[in-house]
């Protein structure tokens, strides 16, 4: 448990640094920004204390918000992503699998991991950009931004996972 918490903390900090210093400056085609920190919410193991999932997701969102001057934006959507992960993991994990099954490509297999991360990433990006454009809602721009951003995020997540699962 202790090692797991330390692992989580390291992941928390490194995702924060990467997001703030590198990925926030990426604007693919002027619309897409990879929101890689959602990877933090995706990789919680099965039956990890739910309140801890929610609180740590909230804190990561809040930290990202602090650096990008959008208080409440990433934190609200990250909390929701954390909650969604807890229930999706129950649905997706094979019934006879271990109680503390890790959410990774190695344990779930490519297609199941892809389903899990695609659902959470797309949900995350759509809500994130909808809330960000709260005052000036432009459907086409919103769709473009959320789709391009979720594709970029997903590609990064799969790349990291395939390296980790070796």
């Amino acid at each position: 448990m202790k090692i797991e918490l330390v692992n989580r903390l390291v992941m928390f900090l490194s995702l924060l640094v990467v997001q703030v210093l590198i990925l926030n400056h990426v604007h693919f085609l002027g619309v897409g920004t990879p929101l890689l920190y959602v990877y933090f919410a995706i990789t919680f193991r099965r039956n990890f204390p739910k309140w801890l999932v929610l609180v740590s997701c909230f804190l990561l969102g809040l930290m990202v918000d602090t650096f990008s001057n959008t208080p409440g934006l990433a934190s609200s959507v990250m909390t929701l992503a954390g909650l969604a992960q807890c229930y999706l993991m129950e649905l997706i994990a094979p019934r006879d699998s271990a109680e503390d099954l890790e959410a990774s490509m190695k344990t779930l297999g490519f297609s199941k991991f892809l389903t899990l991360s695609a659902i959470i990433t797309t949900l995350y990006c759509m809500l994130f950009f909808a809330l960000e454009a709260f005052n000036f809602f432009d459907v086409l721009m919103w769709l473009a931004r959320s789709l391009v951003s979720s594709m970029l995020t997903l590609v990064l997540i799969l790349a990291i996972e395939s390296v980790r699962s070796r």
Partner: protein, 289 residues
């Protein structure tokens, strides 16, 4: 009671979820009101420091370009100054008067040099963080400009950092500007998209101007002194109600590459603001009577 406790125990994560969401939503909406919290913005000490380090590292890479731009601008202004001085001397036969007036004009303003530590141009509401704050004399509502033109208006201030509303902020930026040497004025408005194009609205129909003329700040808003460069008029459209012109302006500031800026602190602002407030008070007093 026991059932209730069991229920709460089983679903306590939903309670946590609701509490966290409420906190987020409060933050989300609180920040839209003008005096948001400095704590969760890039003006906070930790975030500011991190951005400062990052910007120091990347500043070297763009040094050459900034230098080139400044040199060009310097040459241009020296020529302009020279020309004006000659014209003025011809008109008044007095060469010392001009220098005295120039100094008087500048002494009214205090210029605080600052470095941009964080900047964005791709959002609808872009903000810039600079490395000077309250302890350096920066206050909210001061104008910020760079060598090439206007940048924005100070919004939040912490002890050592400040957040500036960039002119590229579709929701909150309205800088009052005028056509150089002609005086017709309007408000600069950015709609998102291309960071080098903005629009000036509410220019009267009878205004005379040519495409390619310069827009400068008007000096009416008591944030910027008059004459700070904004951009060149590229096209003129009719406004949607047909009562005024809407001018498409190519901004002279390259927002993707601002590093060195100055905060313009005008000592007469407080006086003007107090006068304006007094006038408003007396009008509302009369209306109530």
């Amino acid at each position: 009671m026991r059932n209730l406790l069991d229920f709460l125990y089983k679903y306590h994560h939903w309670l946590v979820f609701i509490v966290l969401e409420v906190v987020s939503v409060v933050l989300l909406f609180q920040y839209n009101s003008y005096q948001g919290s400095v704590w969760f913005s890039s003006a906070s000490a930790v975030a500011g420091k991190a951005y400062e380090l990052e910007s120091k590292m990347t500043a070297y890479l763009s040094m050459a370009k900034a230098n080139e731009e400044l040199t060009m601008r310097n040459i241009y202004q020296e020529r302009q100054l020279d020309q004006l001085r000659r014209l003025y001397a011809e008109a008044t036969k007095d060469t010392t008067d001009m220098e005295r007036k120039g100094l008087e004009f500048l002494s009214q303003y205090q210029l605080i040099p600052a470095k941009v530590v964080e900047n964005s141009i791709h959002k609808l509401e872009n903000l810039i963080t600079i490395d000077k704050g309250r302890k350096d004399g920066v206050e909210p509502d001061m104008g910020v400009a760079c060598g090439n033109g206007v940048v924005g208006v100070v919004y939040l201030v912490s002890d050592h950092y400040a957040v500036v509303i960039s002119a590229l902020n579709a929701a909150s930026s309205r800088i009052s500007c005028a056509i150089r040497n002609r005086g017709y004025f309007g408000y600069l408005h950015w709609y998102g998209g291309d960071p080098s194009v903005a629009y000036v609205e509410d220019v009267p129909r009878h205004a005379k101007f040519k495409l390619g003329e310069w827009m400068v700040t008007s000096g009416f808003s008591s944030i910027f002194p008059s004459g700070v460069q904004v951009g060149k008029i590229e096209q003129a459209y009719n406004s949607s109600d047909g009562l005024s012109y809407k001018l498409k302006v190519r901004l002279s500031t390259d927002f993707g590459n601002v590093r060195d800026v100055v905060v313009i602190s005008d000592k007469s602002i407080a006086e003007r603001a107090a006068l304006m407030q007094a006038a408003r008070d007396s009008i509302s007093f009369k209306q109530r009577q």
